[in-house]
């Protein structure tokens, strides 16, 4: 289960966030796509349509992956006095639904001058291949 941060002072470089293991089903992928008005793009709702685009099958929208990586960080922030201020993602490998994905995070930097911390975040498949990678910045209020 994701852990929570209490304060900026408690953070240490090398601390982990998560890991969070999730199983995103095809129905959940379709539900997200339809809710976000992306249901018209077959790649997010239909295996055959996705294959016609050269994909291995249906894929999870990049925005959904970004949302899940962000959620790892906001869950870690919890009710502490902090805010997610930046998220950068790179979609390296299509993320297919009906697979187990694991989301990880590492604290890689801590800047006392502006009370920010940098976090590596990434999503892996069952074979530990990195599908989506990213970095997040969290700022702590005084």
């Amino acid at each position: 289960m994701p852990n929570h941060v209490n304060s900026f002072e408690d953070i240490k470089i090398g601390d982990t966030l998560g890991p969070l293991e999730l199983f995103v089903s095809k129905d959940q992928c379709r539900a997200y796509a339809n809710t976000m008005g992306m249901g018209g793009a077959g790649r997010f709702t239909d295996d055959e349509a996705a294959r016609k685009e050269g994909l291995p099958g249906m894929i999870i929208p990049g925005n959904m992956s970004l949302g899940l990586l962000s959620k790892l960080v906001t869950d870690w922030i919890g009710s502490s006095n902090a805010r997610l201020t930046r998220m950068s993602t790179t979609y390296r490998v299509p993320v297919q639904p009906d697979h187990t994905i694991t989301i990880h995070g590492f604290i890689t930097n801590k800047n006392p001058a502006d009370r920010t911390t940098e976090i590596d975040v990434w999503m892996e498949n069952e074979e530990a291949e990195r599908l989506v990678t990213g970095t997040a910045t969290v700022a702590f209020r005084k």
């Binding site: 008005g37 949302g67 906001t74 997610l84 930046r86 979609y91």
Partner: protein, 147 residues
């Protein structure tokens, strides 16, 4: 670089959307779709006592503004089609229920690189989201991969 495009494409604003009102139901639907349960995003009463004094959308909601509504009409395209290659988002201020959000977009950069999928042209689009008070909510760099 060998990719051909009109240099005047860069930095010229190609799209400014009409304001879109974000209501509480929309935030709730987004949270439901993502499995988000944090009360500052899902419970108006709890959110009122939270750090933002009211219901706000999860930060990642900002990037969904480009999909389903006012998707880029005039973005330059290369090759057969585009894929979302990634985003760089600066979350400046939370999006609140009741905000009326506009987006202004321009092409920031175009470059070519090769990868597992072959030769790709990347088009980076910078969008700035503002609310009804002209306050910046987010800056988003969308990287579209064309091949």
């Amino acid at each position: 670089m060998s990719v051909n495009y009109d240099p005047e494409l860069i930095n010229k604003v190609f799209e400014v959307t009409e304001p879109v009102e974000i209501n509480a139901e929309e935030i709730e639907r987004y949270c439901a779709a993502l499995g988000e349960t944090n009360p500052i995003y899902t419970d108006a009463a709890a959110a009122k006592k939270g750090p933002y004094g009211g219901l706000v959308a999860p930060p990642s909601f900002a990037v969904t503004m480009r999909n389903g509504r006012n998707f880029f009409q005039s973005v330059p395209r290369f090759g057969r089609g585009g894929f979302d290659a990634g985003k760089d988002v600066e979350f400046v201020a939370p999006i609140r229920a009741g905000d009326r959000v506009t987006l202004s977009s321009h092409v920031k950069e175009i470059y070519e690189k090769t990868g597992r999928s072959g030769t790709m042209v990347f088009v980076v689009i910078r969008s700035t989201l503002k609310n009804q008070n002209d306050e910046v909510l987010a800056h988003i760099d969308h990287r579209f991969m064309n091949r």
